[in-house]
């Protein structure tokens, strides 16, 4: 890691959360940056990836020409099978989710609050939204990990006292990775679990919209 590095890039954010995965976990990865958790080398820990479209256990995305057009993950990517992969229909896939069998779900978000609420399905002023499986997963997984940039493109904090956007679920977030570090909701703010390289506590606190504990 370079001495001049400041913060984590997207893969490093995903890596940091993936390192929390324990042996034997059933893991659901959301579309986008969360998918990058599957690139992380977990050593001898084995996790199984669950995809909401009824795919339990899948491997890497296949290159053009090698893909099977009957096999996609939640993002519609043509992934590969593992020896223990199995497919089920949607009601069974969400039975797995709703009955609490998912050890962790990793999702992107627009904002996350210190009380564990988060918002990721509708932006301000938009008619309609994109929920997909996010509300089922957020309400029912044993743990909810969130990956998001620490501030918006305009510099506004995404770690906030209360969500301004419509929430996906309330009081469920366990752990948050941003480009500035790893944070845990405390109920009234966030606690720093780890700062990304080159980030100071004061710098991160200034970019956080709610109380931050060291």
């Amino acid at each position: 890691m370079s001495g001049t590095q400041k913060g984590w890039d997207r893969q490093q954010m995903a890596d940091r959360l993936a390192r929390e995965f324990q042996d034997g976990w059933l893991v659901n990865l959301g579309v986008g940056i969360p998918t990058m958790c599957s690139n992380t080398d977990l050593g001898d820990r084995e996790v199984t990836y669950h995809s909401e479209n009824g795919l339990i256990g899948y491997g890497p995305v296949l290159p053009a020409g090698q893909e099977d057009l009957h096999l996609v993950n939640a993002g519609g990517q043509n992934v590969s099978l593992k020896p223990d992969s199995v497919t089920v229909h949607h009601a069974d896939s969400f039975a797995i989710i709703r009955s609490g069998r998912i050890d962790v779900t990793v999702m992107g978000a627009y904002e996350v609050a210190g009380n564990g609420d988060f918002a990721n399905w509708k932006v301000a002023g938009q008619k309609g939204g994109g929920i997909g499986g996010a509300m089922d997963l957020a309400a029912c997984a044993k743990r909810v990990f969130i990956i998001l940039e620490h501030v918006t493109r305009k510099g506004a904090p995404r770690l906030v006292p209360t969500c301004a956007l419509p929430v996906t679920a309330r009081g469920v977030v366990t752990l948050v990775a941003t480009n500035y570090g790893l944070f845990a909701p405390t109920g009234t703010g966030f606690r720093v679990v780890e700062l990304a390289p080159g980030m100071s506590f004061d710098e991160v606190r200034a970019a956080t919209g709610t109380p931050l504990e060291a």
């Binding site: 893909e67 996609v72 009601a91 994109g130 997909g132």
Partner: protein, 244 residues
């Protein structure tokens, strides 16, 4: 037994009346009944309610989808788990018509939609779920506490018709799906009065499928159409991101 096999897609959808509630299976390409959607576009039934995971059109090449039915003036309402893209910068084809007020939409969490279909197919009128409690979707709706946890009441979605795609079928309508093609398809089939299936392989004679390896029993299936080879039939191709 009267044959369930139809000679073509136009014939299989010919009697669908205006105002029908139609469930459309599929998640991304697998299981999506492109040929039946194309036939419905030509058939022209109006005031339809379409139930599906998405409205389509998010990728290239564009395949027949619900947004095309909307564009064609055939749809009154859509029930889906996506009525907009999750990326604010990406506008799906449906958005234009939805924002213009030309079509209604009901946004439903994906697992809730699956279970509402399953319930309809299983003779269950409603059920409680923890999903969406405390969100905008639950505002003004009935909840009840079970085992100390608040749950939201959800109603079954009965369908007049289901459109689905399967890999293999026999003439009595027993179906097998391949890999992630299954998704919503068995649930749509169960929820519908009339389930119409586009089938990838040649339709097998009765008795040639192992009863232990049937994913959807023929009792839930009314019409079968074999998909012809391209270009007469529509087959998925590797998708690309839609050009911005």
């Amino acid at each position: 037994m009267r044959s369930k096999t139809f000679g073509g897609f136009a014939e299989a959808v010919a009697d669908i009346p205006d105002g029908s509630v139609i469930g459309i299976g599929g998640f991304a390409a697998p299981g999506t009944p492109y040929n039946l959607l194309q036939a419905l576009l030509a058939q022209g039934a109006k005031n339809l309610v379409c139930v599906a995971n998405t409205t389509g059109g998010a990728h290239q090449p564009r395949m027949p989808d619900i947004a095309m039915l909307v564009e064609n003036g055939q749809v009154r309402k859509v029930i889906a788990s996506f009525t907009a893209s999750t990326r604010p910068t990406d506008v799906i084809p449906f958005t234009k018509y939805y924002e213009a007020g030309e079509v209604e939409a009901e946004l439903v969490p994906q697992g809730t939609m699956a279970e509402r279909l399953r319930a309809a197919g299983a003779g269950i009128p409603a059920f409680y779920t923890p999903t969406a409690v405390g969100t905008e979707l639950a505002e003004g709706r009935e909840t009840r506490v079970f085992n100390g946890r608040e749950m939201l009441l959800e109603y079954a979605i009965p369908l007049d018709y289901a459109f689905i795609r399967a890999h293999r079928a026999d003439a009595s309508g027993n179906l097998q799906f391949r890999l992630t093609q299954r998704n919503f398809c068995p649930l749509m089939a169960m929820a519908a009065k009339t389930c119409i299936v586009e089938v990838e392989e040649d339709i097998l004679p009765v008795g040639s499928m192992d009863p232990d390896n049937v994913h959807t029993a023929g009792i839930f299936v009314q019409r079968l159409v074999k998909i012809p080879a391209a270009p007469d039939g529509i087959w998925p191709v590797r998708r690309q991101e839609r050009a911005k």
